[in-house]
């Protein structure tokens, strides 16, 4: 008989989303366990850039989530600050061709209507903000709310501050079930963790955990590569990216699409990311992807042509077919809650997700309407992901 320890909630996943769920649940007074088959930040979180972006989102549920998160990250920064390398540096979105400025004006107008701060930057002001930016770019927008954290540190410190019991390196092999098929805990190779609620924050493996509960959650991986330069002085002050990026995020195309997001880090290296490909969990390096990232970064910041790329890393973003995460209780299985499928925005959206999940765990009214994030919304839309061209 495996040892059984009772909790109020078991969070599956020690990435930044799981850590945020644990943090807000524990702060609400719940007794929390976090279990992960790997270490803290071992999945997508550890391969992330730490983007806290509102600028790349069109008005809608995800932007609402991002705006809430922006506020929460500011609060968290007061608690964690430099330890998680929080930098409210702002994002600078630039147009690479004159037609792009119209696209930016249109998007910014919509975003401002829902509370995003977006300041137009004229062509001749761009290089005041970013002195190394290429000459001749037609203009852009500054988004002061965009910020950055170091994702692994963010996850580790949130998890530590939660005071949750950590069961790392233990894969969940099954779920405890109660009357009416409800989920009442998890089984690992070493123990049972009993709780009236289980939160699925398993990232790219979220679909597998849902399957253990007998329900379908079509989480798919979307691969990305990030280039890391040699340590440099602060040659890039904001998160800087080309306008095309917005179209990329919303795209459902299976083709490679990449737009370099270029940013400095407190540690020195400049990060250049990230490509977006739907190739399953294929880890194979495609040098063509690195070429596009490097070429686009150099087009934005010609000075980068003089530096060395020290390393590159890859990750897999967990996404759902409509590019929105699954957040909240699963109507199909009592006791099962979801917090996964944030694609490339998980670091940014983690606090809001954690807060909303903990609200529902306590039966409180959440800050946002969770309807767009209903985990069961793909019922009846069988093979939706196939219809979108996943090969």
């Amino acid at each position: 008989m495996l040892k059984r320890t009772p909790y109020d909630v078991v969070v599956v996943g020690a990435g930044v989303v799981g850590a945020a769920c644990a943090y807000y649940a524990a702060r609400s007074g719940l007794k929390v366990a976090v279990v992960d088959r790997g270490p803290v930040a071992g999945g997508t979180t550890g391969a992330g850039e730490g983007n806290l972006l509102v600028s790349d989102k069109e008005p809608g549920p995800e932007l609402d989530l991002a705006l809430l998160s922006t506020r929460l990250w500011r609060e968290l920064a007061e608690e964690f600050g430099a330890r998680v390398e929080y930098e409210p540096k702002g994002g600078l979105v630039v147009a690479t061709r004159p037609a792009g400025t119209d696209l930016l004006h249109g998007l910014a107008a919509q975003q401002r209507a829902v509370g995003v701060e977006a300041l137009p930057v004229a062509a001749d002001e761009l290089r005041t903000l970013e002195p190394h930016l290429a000459e001749g770019l037609p203009g852009g927008y500054l988004y002061p709310q965009d910020a950055q954290v170091q994702p692994a540190l963010a996850a580790a410190h949130l998890l530590r501050a939660s005071g949750a019991d950590r069961y790392l390196g233990e894969a969940v092999t099954g779920l405890l079930r109660g009357p009416g098929g409800s989920v009442t805990g998890v089984v690992t190779g070493r123990r049972e963790l009993a709780a009236p609620a289980v939160v699925n924050a398993a990232g790219t493996w979220g679909g597998e955990l849902a399957a253990l509960a007998g329900v379908r959650l079509p989480v798919l991986p979307r691969r990305g590569f990030v280039l890391v330069t040699e340590p440099l002085p602060r040659i890039v002050r904001h998160k800087v990216y080309a306008a095309d990026y917005v179209a990329d995020v919303a795209s459902g195309s299976a083709d490679l699409q990449s737009s370099a997001v270029v940013e400095g880090t407190p540690a020195g290296p400049v990060l250049i990311g990230a490509s977006r490909e739907r190739v399953g969990f294929d880890r194979t390096l495609d040098p063509g992807v690195l070429h596009r990232l490097a070429a686009q970064a150099a087009a934005l910041f010609p000075v980068l042509r003089t530096v060395q790329v020290q390393r590159a890393y890859r990750g897999f973003r967990p996404y759902l077919p409509d590019h929105l995460p699954a957040i909240g209780p699963d109507a199909r299985v009592p006791g099962l809650h979801h917090a996964c499928g944030h694609e490339g925005a998980g670091i940014g959206l983690a606090p809001a997700t954690g807060l909303l999940v903990s609200r529902r765990l306590l039966g409180e009214e959440p800050e946002l309407d969770l309807a767009p994030f209903r985990p069961e919304r793909f019922e009846g839309a069988e093979r939706l992901e196939d219809a979108e061209g996943e090969s």
Partner: protein, 102 residues
């Protein structure tokens, strides 16, 4: 006995490199790191964080401890670069890219 005696080396005329403005002699075929060692110089870089002195460690291009600025180009591995007449080696402070500061 010294290394040249051991292998019966008869190198051609020495080359002169400049290390932080000082003339240092280098045998043809020697790397910049070796020429500096032979001159008694063990450090030609200071670290980014602690400002600590560093020089060659692994000697074969893998540790990147022997980085210095050579002929104006920062982050060069002195253990890999053959010394050429007139090479200018400058002790590199930190990342060596202060020229890019804005």
């Amino acid at each position: 006995m010294d290394p040249l005696d051991l292998v019966g080396a008869e190198p051609g005329p020495a080359r002169t490199i400049l290390f932080d403005g000082r003339a240092v002699s280098a045998l043809p075929g020697q790397t910049l790191a070796a020429a500096l060692w032979a001159d008694g110089v063990l450090a030609w870089r200071t670290t980014r964080r602690g400002g600590r002195p560093r020089g060659a460690f692994c000697g074969i291009g893998q540790c990147f401890d022997c980085l210095a600025t050579v002929n104006g180009r920062p982050n060069q591995r002195l253990c890999l670069l053959p010394a050429e007449h007139g090479d200018t080696v400058t002790t590199q402070e930190g990342h060596g890219r202060a020229d890019l500061e804005v």
